[in-house]
Structure formats: C-alpha cells, structure tokens
C-alpha cells in the first residue's frame, strides 16, 4: 500500500516537473531557431574562451575553426526569425524586448559591430594566444551591447 502511494507520488512529481519544463519551452519555431543560433555562438566562443583563460591549451587550428564557425553563423539570414509577436510581452518564454521591433536600424548597426568583431577574431585566433585574448573583449562587447539594449534581465 505504502509503496503504491510512493509510486503515485513520484509519478505526480514527475508530471509536475515535466509540466513546468514544458511551460517554459516556446512553441514558436522562429524563437527556437534564433535561440539555436545563440547556442551556436556560445558553443564556439567557449572554445576560444577556454584558451583565453588558459583552461585549455592554445591550439591555433581549433581556435581558427571556432572563429570560422562564428563568422559562418553570422551569414545566416535571420529576417524570418523575428516575426511580430515574438517579443517577451507576447511570449514570456523569450527575453527579447519589444524595443527590437521599434529599432531595427540600431539592431542592424549592432549586428554589424558583431560581424566586425567576429572577423577580427577570425584573423586573430590562429596567430597566438595573446592576439586571441585581445580579440575576446571586442567580441564580448558586441554581444553585450545588444543584450543590454534588447534583452530583458534574467528573473532571479
């Protein structure tokens, strides 16, 4: 009897946990697509960042591959990934602020700044670890500039 209840309770807990997870996940394929792009940036920046911090040994080829990937991801045309109604007011699963849709020219300027920083990283990554380190600041700065203006703070 006791065991039955435990199983039932465990089942309920799982349902609750899965339910919460699903509630946070977006249904909007455009948001999923652009979030995937962010993950691709992050994955490749992790390779560069590990070397910049000295956590992994500097490897010119691996660093260049990562920088190339970032530049390649930047080639993706995202114009279909930011449809109206995919801001954080319409869909709480995203942190994209409605201001994005009011300021497309500025978003474009900031995206260009990221492209410039990524190309600079592409040139630096294969040279030596000091060049790579020096290129991390502007790259991160370009990410942050857009996030400061157009991404809602994380709920804590």
């Amino acid at each position: 009897m006791m065991k039955k209840y435990s199983i039932l309770a465990a089942g309920l807990v799982s349902v609750a946990v899965i339910g919460t997870a699903i509630a946070q996940e977006t249904e909007n394929p455009a948001i999923k697509a652009r979030t995937s792009i962010m993950k691709l940036y992050s994955f490749n920046i992790a390779t560069l960042g590990g070397m910049a911090k000295g956590e992994t040994e500097y490897d010119a080829e691996a660093a260049t591959r990562a920088a190339n990937n970032i530049v390649a991801v930047l080639q993706i045309d995202q114009s279909e990934m930011w449809p109206a109604g995919s801001d954080n007011v319409s869909d709480p699963s995203t942190r994209a602020l409605p201001d994005i849709w009011e300021n497309f020219p500025d978003v474009g300027t900031k995206a260009q700044a990221l492209a410039d920083a990524a190309v600079a990283m592409q040139a630096a990554a294969g040279q030596d670890v000091d060049s790579l380190k020096a290129a991390m600041g502007p790259l991160g700065g370009a990410c942050s500039a857009c996030h400061k203006a157009y991404r809602a703070p994380e709920d804590k």
């Binding site: 992050s42 991390m136 703070p153 804590k156």
Partner: protein, 302 residues
C-alpha cells in the same frame, strides 16, 4: 529662572557651533599633493578603473564619445534625481580650472570648490581611499580630454535633502574611510582591494544600503535590491560567487560568463571600463573577491 534660560541658550549655541564645526566640509592638506609628479599612463588607468565616463559622459554615449565628459545622465533615487555634472576640461562649465588639490577635495572628502558638500551619488565614500599619486595622475589625464561646453544641470532634490549642510551629518554617520576587508592579504589581494573598494566603487551597487542611503558595511558585497526595480544585484562574496578567478577575470575583460552567455544590464558599462585594465588588475580583483567573507546569518535580515 533667567539664569536657567541663559544657560540653556549657551548650551544650545555651543551644540550648534559643535554641529556646524562637525558638519564643515573637509579639505585635503595641500602638502599631500604638492610635489607629486603626475603620470599620464597611470592617470588613464585610474580613469578606467574609477569608471568616470560611465556617469559623466553624455546619455547614450559610446566609443570615443565616452571621453567627452559632458554630464547629463540622470540618476533617480529615493532622495531625488541627481544629474551628473560636466567634468570635462572646459575651464568654465567643466573642471578644467581645478587644481589637483581641488580634485582631491572632491574625491576624498566630497567637497566642491566653493566648500559645498557633494551628494553621495558621486561615490566619494569609495574614492576616499584613493592614493594622492593616483589623484594627481587622474587630474593630469582629465586635462588631456576634450573640453565640452554643455552646462551642468541642477539636481532635482526635495526638502530636507536639498539642505547641503545636512550632508555633513550624513558623512559623519556613513563615510567611514579605511578598508573593509582586512587581515593578512597578499600583494595581489591588496591591489584587488584597492581596485574594488576604492577605484571601482563596486560596493556602491553590490552592498545593501540603509534607509538614509548609508552602506551596510557589515553586509559588504552581499548583493542588494536593484534600484531600477526588477531583480537583484548579485552578491560577490566568496560564498556567493562560485566562479573561478579566471572566470571572473574573463567576465571583466569580455563580459562572457563561465557558460559563455554575455553580460547584460548595468554591468555592460562597467565591463567597458574593466576591459581597458591589465590582465593583472582583473585577476587582482578576482583574487580579492575570493577573500570577501559573507556573514550568512545577517544576509536574510536586510
């Protein structure tokens, strides 16, 4: 009876005089700055470590515009709205005519050129621990930056906070020069302490304040409500921030977190400054943060 009234009046007058004397704006001793030779390179480092441009550049300034210290950014607080003044090298509307001593009075004592108290929105409670060598060098560096002719705007502060003299009392209560984290520290941790507690004035946001705006020094760097309303400014004590020292240094260089998300919010402007520091200085900040204690029992009581 008459005698009693006279004595009371005398006592009141004495109390008044003592209060006036105690709330008098303080100044540095000229001997402290004379004879020091400014170093422009050092002045530039102090400029970035001190974050001058984050408040004193024009609203929305970016890149090179951040060296135009026109003022005009507005800071809404519970006590009123403060407007950052012009501190460019213009001799009339900026601070170009100031001596190094004048700058030292402002930074170390929060005292203006006409002997007025500054509001602590200007973080002189932190800058009070700056070395005179750094101030003299900063003074020289500020004079190399462009003159901007934008007039400073008046603060919008209501009664009783608009009585400047009362700030003398505020300083008596809450301006406590000296270091918070003490004890056996390595040279690197000491450098980090100087960067965090004095120049970087990190504690102005990351430490909670009491009702009168004084820092709760016993809750040093344990995090605070965000004045912008939403969320909390995180605690940075060793127990709260579990990033490695290299993680912290990388964050201060590029804004990348350990899982390679990027900074957002107000820290973006801070990182624009810390990204200009040397690797050694960023690592020193990290080394210092690792020795900041947290008094867990008190954190919940704020």
């Amino acid at each position: 009876m008459r005698r009693w009234i006279i004595s009371a009046a005398v006592v009141a007058a004495l109390v008044g005089l003592v209060a006036l004397a105690m709330t008098r704006p303080q100044r540095v001793d000229q001997a402290q700055v004379s004879g020091l030779t400014p170093d422009l390179g050092r002045g530039e480092e102090v400029f970035y470590a001190g974050g001058c441009a984050s408040c004193h550049s024009a609203p929305g300034a970016s890149g090179e515009e951040k060296l135009m210290l026109a003022g005009g950014r507005r800071f809404k607080t519970d006590f009123g709205t403060f407007v950052a003044p012009n501190i460019s090298s213009d001799p009339d509307v900026g601070i170009g005519a100031w001596s190094a001593e004048g700058l030292a009075n402002a930074l170390v004592h929060g005292t203006g050129p006409n002997g007025q108290h500054y509001y602590p929105a200007f973080p002189y409670t932190s800058y009070a621990n700056m070395t005179m060598e750094d101030i003299v060098s900063l003074h020289a560096f500020l004079n190399t930056l462009p003159a901007v002719v934008t007039e400073s705007e008046a603060h919008d502060v209501g009664f009783p906070f608009n009585i400047r003299r009362s700030l003398g009392g505020w300083k008596l209560l809450f301006m406590e020069p000296g270091w918070v984290v003490d004890g056996e520290l390595t040279d690197q941790q000491l450098r980090g302490r100087y960067l965090v507690e004095a120049l970087g004035h990190c504690t102005e946001c990351h430490t909670p304040r009491n009702k009168l705006g004084g820092l709760k020094r016993d809750l040093w760097l344990t995090g605070a409500p965000n004045p912008s309303g939403k969320g909390r400014i995180p605690g940075l004590t060793a127990a709260q921030l579990d990033w490695s020292e290299t993680d912290i240094a990388e964050y201060l260089r590029s804004g990348f977190t350990p899982d390679y998300d990027s900074a957002g919010g107000e820290m973006v402007e801070v990182i624009e400054n810390t990204s200009q520091l040397s690797d050694d200085d960023r690592l020193a900040i990290a080394a210092y943060l690792k020795v900041v204690p947290m008094r867990a029992s008190e954190v919940g009581s704020e």
